[in-house]
Symmetry: C2
Subunit: 430 residues, 2 copies
């Protein structure tokens, strides 16, 4: 691997998510060499993926080229590579483009969809953790309606227009809300020759409330908002399987659907090589100390979703969201500079800035430390915060333009099947 | 096929390009039923595809949902379908979604890339006639540079950074200019560890001048612009083959390259079923009379690229560009209403509004009827005209925002490999 060695220590970062790029930016122009590896050449702004799936935003406006992250800093090297294994004793990574050596390693690989070992679900459900996955879902949603137009079979048509979303966290709630708005505002105009009133959006939650990481206020209000939009919310319901046609649950309840979206769990995206047995905390996350150091590996750090830092306030680690990743990335950046300078590390402490979710037009819920609010103002706060954290000035402007357009026109123009998703529809014909 | 029959005559339009949608819009709220068939659910603004390939624009902003074309007009039906055959005697189409009957049929299928029967070229060259093709090219261009970073082989690296564009029409000229600007403005910043000065852009033209449908002024000036940008222009050079590695020409000249873009010819996208032997004029186009009626078929019309209407000024048919398609679509719309009303048809006459091409920043050439000009003003005219003809208000704003950003920042942020294009690079390792 021809990355030139400099006299500075080399810090290799695996993953260009919120954690990885926050860290990289902190290291710019410091006396270190920064090598960023990612399997994509872009950063994905995951909180808005559901808007790509529902035609509200173009994919390119929530992506940002990773080569631009430290543009102009000549001791920064990006490589498009998948990391297969960490050889900690040799301080080397095995990657899809050969071996890469490091002085310090930061694992910032984020998380991936957790199907809890259910192979059938993994095969038939749609996930929404990456841009290609979101585009597949966008295609499938639109294809279902095109297909519904063609069939004379009543049951098949209903199954094609039935959307089952499993998981009542922010992703599930936001996607369900967006689909409900499409049903109301776009389907009747786009498909005048289809009885789109029969379209259904079902949101299935295992626990007894939605948004269970947020306040009771937020849970109740979001459920209330969803019901107003016509979403059917099923709480205390565990999905057990989906054969591409029928969703089964722990009870008698079943759904006939062409589309199951799985937003019911994530787990750390681990890499082979670390002594996983002792280190993997719940949810496949790497146990780290208060300096984000992976226990047992003084040169290896982990930040963001993949890292599990136990603390008094967060005995099971910080929530797997953007904020802990950003804060850990920045903090570790400062700590790594200290480490290189021979100074002692400072412990990380998380500043909870609150959390929020949007259900639809003028409908959002916001929990801040001291105040919790819901409705129109919350919705504006949600938009402002998302624009603020979106990477790239151009992206912000394009997203803003789209939101204004969508708001004023009650529209979502990116309802394009640019690459069809190949679903075998024949299974609905009994 | 369950498209409800109305008491109005049914006009089926195959293809939602410039011609098809101009026609459909003219038929809105007239006493006809309009059925639009297309293999995609969106209109593609083809003149800007090269900007998608070169990361200047997102794909979604040059696409427009076809269901929106006649939104609110309840005798309009869109179906996502590929038409396989015209059964003219029965007035029926065989399509991928079953049979569709018509009273009047309008073939507006446009054109496709013409490899002139060279299977090797067809297999190995990149075309740029659709959004997925343009995205494949975007991925490949970026992948080539990522790959160039990894190799120690001098020849392989040069081949990866060598771009050969065949065809000196507007598409070839515009793509070559955009790549030259990327070489100058983006590559040195994105790939500081690669000697991107060795990147080459070769534009190969069979004839003795570029933009041969335009004035001599435009040809000379565009060549001049390209040379200033560092593009190597090869005139009077016919490409004979490309095995994925070496481009051969009629002379001794060869190019070693990982990327050949074929922009050297288009031909009508014909459909089986019409008596093709007598009807296909040069370039696979359907011969039509001055009412756009396909000769021998009183109920079948053709407009745009697929139609060849011979006239005194255009003995070989109108140029295969947006303007004739738009004008024929509008004109045929009026004629079909006349036909339904039992009135006589009016002959079509083409108003040449001129033609233009852009080479790069502040560099374009414009031929109007009375005046021909080149340079900065031409470039602004080019942008204004393209924004004007782009379908959709949101698209115009998003494209405008991107252009302003790209202009001010000398940047192209959509350099994203969202779906990798699978090129077999091992062939470059001898």
């Amino acid at each position: 691997m021809n990355i030139p060695r400099s006299s500075y220590p080399r810090i290799v970062i695996i993953g260009g998510g919120f954690g990885g790029i926050s860290l990289a930016q902190k290291l710019s122009k410091k006396e270190v060499q920064v090598v960023l590896l990612d399997k994509n050449n872009y950063h994905t702004f995951q909180p808005l993926l559901y808007q790509v799936s529902t035609g509200g935003l173009e994919p390119d406006s929530i992506a940002y080229p990773l080569r631009k992250v430290l543009i102009g800093y000549d001791n920064f090297f990006f490589r498009l590579a998948e990391v297969n294994e960490i050889l900690a004793e040799k301080k080397v990574l095995n990657t899809s483009i050969g071996q890469v050596s490091y002085d310090y390693l930061v694992v910032a690989t984020g998380s991936e969809t957790n199907f809890f070992g259910n192979k059938e679900l993994e095969k038939n459900a749609m996930a929404m953790k990456s841009i290609p996955q979101s585009l597949n879902l966008r295609s499938l949603i639109l294809e279902n309606f095109e297909q519904a137009l063609l069939t004379d079979d009543y049951h098949e048509r209903d199954a094609l227009m039935n959307f089952v979303i499993v998981g009542g966290g922010p992703t599930g709630v936001e996607l369900a809300g967006a689909l409900a708005e499409i049903k109301k505002g776009i389907l009747p105009k786009d498909y005048p020759d289809l009885d789109t009133r029969r379209a259904q959006i079902n949101l299935v939650q295992g626990g007894d409330r939605l948004l269970d990481a947020m306040s009771d206020n937020a849970s109740e209000k979001s459920e209330n908002f969803l019901e107003k939009l016509g979403v059917q919310v099923w709480k205390n319901t565990r999905v057990t399987g989906y054969n591409g046609k029928t969703v089964t649950t722990k009870t008698d309840l079943t759904f006939e659907t062409a589309t199951l979206v799985w937003a019911a769990g994530v787990m750390g995206a681990t890499i082979k090589g670390l002594d996983a047995k002792e280190l993997l905390a719940g949810g496949n996350r790497l146990n780290v100390n208060q300096f984000n150091q992976v226990e047992g590996y003084p040169e290896i750090f982990a930040i963001g979703d993949i890292a599990c830092m136990e603390s008094k306030d967060y005995p099971r680690g910080h929530p797997m969201m953007a904020q802990p990743a950003i804060q850990q990335g920045k903090h570790l950046g400062e700590n790594l500079v200290r480490l290189v300078d021979g100074k002692s590390l400072k412990p990380f402490s998380y500043r909870d800035k609150g959390s929020m979710a949007t259900v639809g037009r003028n409908k959002a819920v916001v929990d801040l430390k001291k105040i919790k609010f819901q409705g129109v103002f919350a919705w504006f706060v949600w938009m402002f915060v998302h624009l603020f954290f979106l990477i790239g000035f151009r992206n912000r402007v394009v997203v803003f333009v789209n939101w204004v357009y969508n708001y004023v026109r009650f529209d979502r123009e990116a309802r394009l099947i640019i690459r069809p998703f190949k679903r075998n529809y024949s299974q609905f014909k009994d």
